[in-house]
Symmetry: C2
Subunit: 355 residues, 2 copies
C-alpha cells in the first residue's frame, strides 16, 4: 500500500517530484559544476520562479541556505548587535530565542497566551529592541499568527527589523514581504521537497543593518553573512557548493505551483483546513487555541484526549501517516500537515480513516 504522508515536514512529496528526480539523473544535475553557465541558469530560474510564485518584491534578495535553524542563526548574527525580542508560541519560537542567547545576544521573550489568544500590537516591546523574531506558524503547537497582525506590528515599529519564520506557511498562506525584513522557510514543508535546502528573503533594511554591524566590527558570520550571500546571489551563485538537486527541484515545483495558481493553493489550503478542523471537532479532538484566528491552517495540532499513539497506528494501518505531538505532548496530540501536496481527495480519505 502506497502511504500518504500527512507529517508536518518532511511530508508528502509534491506529485511531480519523482519525475523530476528521474530527469535530474538523466540530465546529470548531480554532477553539474556549481560554477558552470548551466548552474547559473538553473539558480536564476529557481530564484525568479520563487519571486513570481510568492510575489517577492524586486527590492528583496533571495538567499539559499541549508536549514531554518541556520536561518535563525544568520538572521540574528546579521541584524542584532545586542537586543532581540521574541514572542513565544511554541518550541520553534523558543529555539529562535535560545539561538540568540547562544550567539551572545541579549534576547527578551514574552510567552503569548496560546490558549486564549493575544493582541500583538498591545505587547510591550522594549524600546531598545533591534529585531523582533516571530514564528508565524508554530509546527509544535499548531498556533499561527495572522499576517495582518505581523504587518500591523511592522507599521508600529518601522525602525525595528522583523525576522519572520514562515517555515510551514509558504506557499500556502500569504506573506507580506514588506512587513517581513527577513522571511525564511525550508523546502520540506509546503513545497513537498526532500529536506536539505532553505530559503531566506531579505529586505534592504535588513541588508543595511548587516553592513552597518560589519562596519562596526560585529561578527556577522563568514561564508553566509548577508553581504557574502548577496555578492554571490547577484550572479545567481552561492558561496559554497550548494544542494543543486534541491535547487533544481525547487525551481521545477515553483513553476508547477505557479501554473496551478497561487490563489488556488491559498483557497484550497483554507478549504482543506476547514474540513480537517470540522472532522477533528466531530471526534472531540481539540486545537490548543480557543481562538480560531490563532489556529494554523497548514499544521493542524489537536489534543486527542485519548491515546494518540493508538490513533496514529490505526491511521498508519490504512496508509495515512500523521505526526506525533511535539516533545512532551507526544502522547496526547496528533499533528496533521495541510500542504499543496495533500489533495482535497487525500484529505477526505484521511477524514474517512479518522472515523
Amino acid at each position: 500500500m502506497k502511504k500518504i504522508y500527512f507529517t508536518v515536514g518532511p511530508s508528502q512529496l509534491y506529485p511531480t517530484v519523482p519525475t523530476y528526480t528521474r530527469h535530474a539523473l538523466k540530465d546529470d544535475i548531480f554532477s553539474l559544476s556549481h560554477r558552470s553557465e548551466q548552474a547559473v541558469q538553473l539558480i536564476s530560474e529557481t530564484t525568479e520562479r520563487l519571486r513570481v510564485l510568492l510575489t517577492i518584491p524586486k527590492t528583496h534578495q533571495i538567499f539559499f541556505t541549508a536549514s531554518s535553524l541556520e536561518n535563525m542563526e544568520r538572521s540574528l548574527q546579521n541584524t542584532v548587535e545586542r537586543y532581540s525580542f521574541h514572542p513565544i508560541i511554541g518550541e520553534f519560537s523558543k529555539k529562535f530565542f535560545d539561538a540568540a542567547g547562544m550567539l551572545g545576544k541579549k534576547p527578551y521573550k514574552i510567552d503569548l497566551d496560546i490558549t486564549n489568544g493575544w493582541k500583538l500590537h498591545e505587547l510591550n516591546i522594549p524600546k531598545r529592541t533591534e529585531t523582533i523574531c516571530i514564528t508565524q506558524n508554530e509546527t509544535s503547537t499548531g498556533i499561527g499568527i495572522p499576517m495582518q497582525e505581523i504587518s500591523q506590528l511592522k507599521k508600529q515599529h518601522p525602525d525595528k527589523i522583523l525576522a519572520v519564520d514562515v517555515v510551514s506557511s509558504l506557499p500556502c498562506v500569504p506573506v507580506d514581504f514588506h512587513a517581513c525584513d527577513i522571511a525564511f522557510f525550508s523546502v520540506q514543508k509546503g513545497f513537498g521537497l526532500p529536506a536539505g535546502l532553505a530559503v531566506m528573503v531579505v529586505s534592504p533594511q535588513a541588508m543595511e543593518k548587516s553592513v552597518y554591524l560589519a562596519k562596526k566590527g560585529v561578527v556577522i558570520g563568514s561564508y553566509h553573512s548577508f553581504p557574502t550571500l548577496a555578492k554571490a546571489a547577484e550572479k545567481y551563485q552561492t558561496p559554497e557548493t550548494p544542494n543543486m538537486f534541491g535547487l533544481y527541484l525547487l525551481g521545477k515545483v515553483a513553476a508547477d505551483m505557479h501554473r496551478y495558481g497561487r490563489e488556488r493553493i491559498l483557497s484550497e489550503t483554507e478549504h482543506k483546513a476547514q474540513l480537517l478542523y470540522e472532522a477533528c471537532h466531530k471526534h472531540g479532538f481539540a486545537p490548543l487555541s480557543h481562538n480560531t484566528q490563532h489556529r494554523s491552517i497548514t499544521t493542524i495540532v489537536v489534543d486527542t484526549k485519548s491515546d494518540a499513539a493508538a490513533i496514529r497506528k490505526r491511521l498508519a494501518a490504512q496508509g495515512m501517516i500523521v505526526s506525533a505531538g511535539y516533545a512532551h505532548r507526544k502522547n496526547s496530540d496528533i499533528r496533521i500537515a495541510n500542504f499543496p501536496s495533500h489533495s482535497i481527495s487525500s484529505v477526505k480519505k484521511l477524514i474517512r480513516a479518522l472515523s
Copy 2:
C-alpha cells in the same frame, strides 16, 4: 553520448547512485521524518559505515553539516578564541584564513612555496597559535600535503588543535585521525554523491576546547556548535532537519566502498594518478609543483601552456568533462579529478582522448 565527469566536484556519480536514488523514491526516504526510529537507524548506519570504511577511532565524533565552508566556520568558532595559523597553498586555504578574519579571530598565514616545496616541520608557527588550519589537498592548485607531514606536525605541537580540510582527499588517500583533531570533507568529491552534505570528524581534544571556550563566554555558534552537534549525534540525530537523501546515499555508498575494499581504492587512486601524470607529461602539461611529494593524486591540476579552453572543448566533444583552472588560472590550467567513481578504464579513455 553519456558524459564522464572528471570535474573536481561535483564529479562523476559513484556507479550505484542512480539505483539507490530509485530505491529512495520507492522507500519514501524523501518523506521520512527525521525524528523517526527509521531515521535514527539510517543515520546510525551511515555514521558507523563511515567509521569502518575510513577507520575513524571510536574516540572521535562524526557530525553532519551542509558544506565544507560551513565546516571551516564551525572549526574556527569552536576551537579558536583568538589565534589561528594557516599555511597557504591555494584558494581554499585562503578561504579558511579569510573565514577566521570574518569571525573576528586573529589569523596568521604563511605562503608555502608551492613550486619548490616546503618542510612543514620547519615552519615558524607562533607559540600562541591555538589551531593550525591545513588544507590537505588543494583543489585549486593540485597541491597536496602528505599525511605523514601532518602527523609529524601534530607530534611537534600536541597542545595545538589541527583542523584539516580533507575535502578532496577522502576516501582516496589515508587520513590519520589521531593527527587531525578536526577533519572535514564534502560528499560531492571522493564519494561521488550529489552536493549538499558535509562531514566533520572531531577529536576529544577539539571537543574539550569547544566546551572550554563556551564556558569562557566565547560564542561557539548555536545549532551547530560542537556540544549541540554532539548531543544530537549521541542519539544518531542532527539538530536540524538534515539532508536525509544525502545521508541515505552516503551510507549506501560507504558500504559499497567497504565491500570493494579501502586498500584497493587507495592503490587504484595512486595507479590512476600515475597514468594521468604520465599522460600530462607526454603532452607537455606541467603540474604546478616541481616536487612530486607535493602533488595531489586526487585532483590533478596542470598548466597546459596553451589554450586550456580549447582542450576542454575537444575533450567535451568526446564526452569527457574536465574542470577549468581555478579563478585567474582559468585560461591556462585544466583540473582532472581522480576519485573512486573514475574507473581505470574511464581514466584510460580520457588519456586516449587527450592524445
